[in-house]
């Protein structure tokens, strides 16, 4: 009796899980494991057959492919800027908004709005701003600082990409930080105010430690999204001029789908991207969880 009940339970479990598992296995697990396999072959779109090449694709990507290596450095630099700026600005906005009365709803609504818009659309819109509007303003208001080739000059297009990414991403984290700040017990802040703490002291000694778990989430989300940056760069510079602003994702897509169709080689690059994201995320979570316990 017991055993049959347990067996029935397992069967029911499988029946409930099966539909989800089927789609997940075909479109997620199979490509993930298949990708590992193909990354060890010279599979390309032209030849019907392919053979095992071991780690040759990996060594080629990491030693003989300057464009890929540049794209890794470009992405790492971009991620570093994003982690600091996106979280810093979101926290600042969240704190400032929470200090407001009724107007806070309005500000929250406005700052989140860019998140509703696809970065492809937003990127094209910003391309218009950078190529037409900014130069117009610079010319007529005589602001020399603005009068740069924001898209054409790689030194500046990095910052153009950064500005647009921040514009599109800050609101999302801000919503998370607002929720975290709202969960800080009111009594703590009141007690600090009675003790004569300034607003900045209250923020540093009470709010900041209390929202530390949210910062862990915020940095995690930023790492995850900025390593994958694709649309913003595609719309603004297309990776150019030349390949100066080519992020890893663009490099992989180009390798696989643009001209060479070296699927096996591109799969190896995709695995390298996964390993970088995985390693950095694990280190970040470990490090921040440990500090959370202390705080």
């Amino acid at each position: 009796m017991r055993i049959t009940k347990k067996r029935k339970q397992t069967l029911v479990l499988l029946a409930f899980v099966f539909p989800a598992l089927l789609f997940y296995a075909v479109f997620m697990l199979a490509p993930a494991f298949g990708g590992i396999g193909y990354s060890l072959t010279d599979w390309n779109g032209l030849n019907p057959t392919y053979r095992w090449v071991g780690f040759a694709n990996y060594t080629e990507a990491l030693t003989e492919d300057p464009f890929f290596i540049d794209s890794v450095w470009f992405t790492l630099k971009f991620v570093a800027f994003m982690v600091v700026l996106q979280n810093g600005i979101s926290i600042l906005l969240a704190v400032l908004i929470e200090s407001r009365g009724r107007s806070k709803v309005w500000f929250r609504t406005i700052f989140f709005m860019p998140n509703m818009i696809s970065m492809i659309i937003a990127g094209f819109m910003w391309l218009f701003i950078f190529t037409k509007v900014v130069s117009y303003i610079a010319e007529h208001a005589r602001i020399g600082l603005l009068d740069q080739s924001w898209i054409g000059d790689p030194d500046f297009s990095f910052y153009a990409i950064l500005v647009v990414s921040l514009w599109g991403g800050v609101g999302y984290l801000m919503v998370i930080y607002i929720a975290a700040i709202q969960s800080v017990p009111r009594q703590l802040k009141e007690a600090a105010a009675i003790d004569g703490a300034t607003a900045i002291q209250t923020f540093r000694n009470i709010t900041l430690p209390m929202i530390y778990p949210a910062i862990t989430i915020g940095i995690f989300l930023t790492l995850n999204s900025s390593f994958k940056v694709y649309e913003t760069v595609y719309a603004l510079t297309g990776g150019g001029p030349g390949r100066a602003t080519q992020a890893i994702a663009l490099n992989i897509v180009e390798e696989a789908f643009s001209f060479n169709s070296r699927y096996g080689y591109a799969s190896a690059k995709a695995m390298i991207l996964f390993l970088i994201v995985f390693a950095i995320t694990i280190v970040q979570l470990r490090f921040m969880k440990n500090r959370e316990v202390e705080a």
């Binding site: 339970q9 397992t10 029911v12 479990l13 499988l14 409930f16 899980v17 539909p19 989800a20 789609f23 997940y24 296995a25 075909v26 479109f27 997620m28 697990l29 490509p31 993930a32 298949g34 990708g35 906005l93 400032l96 908004i97 407001r100 609504t109 406005i110 989140f112 709005m113 860019p114 509703m116 696809s118 970065m119 492809i120 659309i121 094209f124 819109m125 910003w126 218009f128 701003i129 037409k132 117009y136 303003i137 514009w167 999302y172 998370i176 607003a199 949210a214 989430i217 994958k228 890893i248 992989i252 897509v253 696989a256 591109a266 995709a270 695995m271 991207l273 996964f274 994201v277 995985f278």
Partner: protein, 286 residues
């Protein structure tokens, strides 16, 4: 406190200055946020010459021709229908299958259920770019590439794990007595789920629906890889194609961008509260 003398006034004045600075910063940030959208809408209503003349001013004459042009060139209605179709198929599958799986795994103790749950959570760290090449190959072999229906199906596979994670967590907060009472009543497993459990999951279903709808609606790369015929193009793909063709005719391009933004902005205005709550909820739980 009882003696509000000269010294008490100073922090009061200081506070007002700080408050004014805070408002100033927030207003400036709002202007920055809205500026590109405002400029886009403004210049989409101008003729080419009017735009070159003064890019910042109001249109001297409203030019709706850009919109008529963009509406036609992007096959707006067809693209919109395609986008909605993909989102509906994806959303229906994700919600139905993930709620069933998440609920049952949460309620069943033991190794099998733990293993399955771990298998689903596993993928949450894998970037899309790491699977896309093989995904394209598999989709070609299964002939799901090249149709809106196929694209919707693929989204189910990519979307279920996060949804299962959220359902799994939410079910734990529902008292077991509820479903056990129904079992005693002689309610079958399937009926129990759809009649008793599923309605209870509504709050988390709303969160999942919003997160996934935004994701599928604004996703560009997967449709780009999967849809080959322009008859199947989603809004973003049609807009991208138009951008390539119009090459620098900005007033027409901007009109198409505004058109592409319109559905999500409308959705935002209508469902704002749910969207903002859903985002905070989804992020904190995962």
């Amino acid at each position: 406190m009882s003696n509000p003398g000269f010294s008490a006034r100073k922090p009061q004045a200081g506070r007002r200055v700080v408050s004014a600075i805070v408002v100033l910063i927030l207003v400036m940030a709002s202007v920055f946020t809205l500026f590109p959208i405002y400029m886009g809408v403004l210049n989409s209503l101008k003729s080419e010459g009017d735009m070159l003349n003064n890019i910042l001013s109001f249109p001297s004459r409203l030019e709706f021709g850009n919109y008529a042009d963009a509406f036609e060139k992007t096959e707006f209605m067809r693209s919109l229908v395609n986008t909605v179709a993909v989102a509906v198929i994806g959303l229906a599958g994700i919600i139905l299958f993930a709620s069933m799986a998440g609920y049952k795994m949460s309620r069943t103790p033991g190794k099998a259920s733990g293993f399955l749950f771990g298998l689903f959570v596993l993928s949450m760290l894998i970037p899309f770019h790491s699977i896309m090449i093989t995904l394209v190959k598999i989709s070609k072999e299964l002939s799901v590439q090249g149709s809106t229906f196929g694209l919707g199906i693929i989204y189910i596979g990519l979307g279920v794990s996060m949804a299962i994670f959220l359902y799994h967590g939410f079910v734990k907060s529902i008292p077991r007595d509820l479903d056990e009472a129904a079992v005693v009543d002689g309610c079958g497993e399937i009926r129990l789920f759809f009649v008793v459990v599923f309605p209870l999951l509504l709050p988390v279903t709303a969160t999942i629906a919003i997160l996934n709808l935004l994701w599928m609606w604004n996703d560009f790369l997967l449709p780009l890889l999967m849809l080959t015929d322009s008859d199947d193009y989603t809004l973003l793909l049609s807009t991208n194609m138009l951008f390539g063709e119009y090459n620098n005719d900005w007033s027409a391009i901007l009109a198409s961008l505004v058109l592409a933004m319109l559905p999500v902005i409308l959705m935002y205005i209508l469902l704002q509260k749910y969207i903002l709550d859903g985002i905070a909820d989804g992020a904190i739980k995962s």
